[in-house]
């Protein structure tokens, strides 16, 4: 089950409104990935983990690489960290190509999925390790370690061994250790995946706070779309070694560029239809029932003939009179989720069930029962035509 929070905390810095592309703010780039390819194996066993990827990550940005496992997001992170080297392409850090540098020469630090805390050192020694390796004076290291301990609220446990603290605390130490040398960019490789739900929620807020307080560019890798939507300034959705779309959470959610993006992020209904006309980024699509609907489509895509429309479950509504809906069907299932209810509608034209999500409130005007005929209405701008 997937719950998408819609609220004012989702930043809307760039993107498109009503199909009109708003230029992205020209901030300085912290990282520029240019035409990076990474091939593993040789000969017939060659696998392109990254297939010519280019992306720019701005300074002070919380940038998320989102995708299913095996999509290349961790490979990209490892290339930026220096644990692997690209087969082709450049990785610029503030304009300088760092792709050939070993990891210990890059002003970039990593928070590992397994935390990778040094088991033979105390919490404080772990946090000070990077500064020590940089040859900083002892007094400076101590001051900085104390500051980091305070930042992650671990002062009381500084003398503990890392095996003597809980998973959540280890997570904080891993963060403090990576932040202590004040990297230009902090890389986070699915750092929350080992935590339980409640702790994960806490750490999400904590990470945002840390990013805000330190002003460091965060590159966050996750397969959890909810995590990506709630935390990121911008998200790059990846699949099969390629970046499919880069944009704000709202962009990605409301205006997915491809069917994969729409399917991967949140729940989506797919409806078949035929394009009858189009102008200025809006197509008129006819359903089998001969009803028509206006649907936006992404820039650079020219929908013709048979297409698939995507509609988010919360952008549609049920009406008791089937004739009043754009499409109609029979209510086959009602699933109660507490905060909202999902209505599964078996469409008259056949195909997959259409899901309508209803926010639950104290006063629900109409109650539905399974088996009745209902109509489905769409909110304005709810439907989009996407590349398959």
């Amino acid at each position: 089950m997937v719950t998408i929070k819609t609220g004012t905390h989702l930043p809307t810095r760039a993107g498109s409104l009503n199909g009109v592309i708003v230029p992205e703010q020209p901030g300085k780039n912290a990282i520029e990935v240019r035409g990076v390819r990474k091939v593993f194996g040789t000969g017939e066993n060659q696998v392109a983990a990254l297939d010519t990827v280019s992306v720019s990550i701005r300074e002070n940005e919380f940038f998320t690489l989102l995708g299913p496992s095996g999509c290349g997001k961790t490979t990209l992170l490892r290339l930026i960290a220096g644990f692997d080297f690209p087969t082709a392409g450049e990785i610029l850090l503030h304009g300088q190509d760092i792709a050939p540098l070993p990891p210990f020469k890059r002003p970039v630090n990593t928070v590992f999925q397994s935390y990778a805390l040094f088991p033979h050192m105390t919490v404080a020694q772990n946090i000070g390790f990077g500064l020590e390796m940089l040859g900083k004076p002892k007094a400076e290291i101590e001051a900085r370690v104390a500051q980091m301990l305070k930042l992650v609220k671990m002062e009381a446990l500084k003398a503990r061994r890392t095996s003597q603290i809980s998973g959540g605390q280890q997570q904080r130490v891993a963060l403090a250790r990576a932040l202590a040398p004040q990297p230009k960019v902090l890389l986070l490789d699915e750092p929350l995946s080992a935590l339980d739900y409640k702790l994960r929620k806490e750490m999400q807020i904590e990470l945002k706070r840390l990013q805000h307080e330190t002003g460091i560019t965060f590159i966050f890798v996750t397969h959890d779309q909810e995590e990506a939507l709630t935390m990121s300034d911008r998200i790059a959705v990846m699949s099969a070694g390629k970046i499919l779309q880069v944009g704000t959470p709202r962009d990605i959610y409301d205006r997915p560029a491809e069917r994969f993006v729409a399917d991967f992020i949140g729940e989506t209904n797919f409806l078949p239809g035929t394009v009858v006309s189009k102008q200025a980024g809006v197509a008129t699509v006819k359903f089998a029932s001969s009803a028509t609907i206006s649907a936006g489509y992404p820039e650079g895509f020219d929908p013709t003939g048979e297409v698939t429309l995507v509609v988010r479950p919360e952008h549609a509504d049920l009406v008791p009179d089937p004739a009043k809906g754009t499409i109609a069907g029979t209510l086959s299932n009602i699933v109660y989720f507490g905060t909202d209810t999902h209505y599964h509608v078996k469409l008259d034209g056949g195909g997959e069930n259409f899901i309508v999500r209803h926010q639950n409130s104290r006063s629900s005007a109409v109650t539905y029962e399974t088996g009745v005929k209902v109509g489905i209405q769409f909110e304005e701008d709810a439907a989009r035509v996407l590349k398959d």
Binding site: A81, G82, F83, P102, P103, F104, K105, V108, N109, T110, F112, S114, A116, L117, F118, P119, H120, F129, G130, M133, L134, R177, A178, P181
Partner: protein
Amino acid sequence: MAEPRVMDIKDQPGFRTIAIICLLVLYVPVLILMIFSLNSGSLVTHWEGVTLGWYGTAFLNEEFHAAARNTLIISVTATIVSTICATLAAIGMTRVKPWRGLAAAFMVINLPLMVPEIITAVATLSFFALIAGVFGLNFGIGNLILAHTVFCIPFAYMPIRARLEDMDLTLEYAAADLYATPWNAFRRITLPLLVPGIMSGAALAFIVSFDDFTITQLVAGPGQTTLPLYIWNQIRRPMTPEINAISTILLMVSILFVSVSFLIARRRAK
């Protein structure tokens, strides 16, 4: 949650009996040997009473002292040198990109474990005879140290390699990520975490060298009698419980080292 028991070997009929017989066969002779070291009589087959006198005789025995000294010199040196070689070999074989001949190198390192010891002994003897004959070189007790070092390497190598393979490679990535040069990452992260493996490898090497007989017997020159050789020489004469006392001392040293090795290995598993 109770796990479904597929098969518990302890439930098999006769398990207990077989286990007890095995333990008796293994340990009763050793126990008898130890008990007779306390025999106040001068025969190792006829019990007369309890005394610690044979331990006193052993401690005053100059030949025993010389043998113990030789054994310690050889074992300690061979342990140190073989452990260093084994550590370098283990790092060279686990922290590098796979190279052609990696499997062959592994075979070569572990060959002494597979070749019958008497073959190694004869080969070592011929080798030293050859360099003595052709080059006129004889390293004295160095010959024994060299021979011991060689056959100790695979014993030291095994636990060190196991430890390196167990170690989370991410830790070394993390060190590099935190500006540690490869040397610093090794010195500050890999080596400290490798210490239990090195200790356990060294303990094994020591014990293997300490009680080696076959190779030592063939290679040892005059005045290079080690403890196992000394015991061997003694039992060819009329035996007194002094030999039991010496054997018991040897056994205790062995048990001590095996226990240390075991405890270190267990600590590492935690």
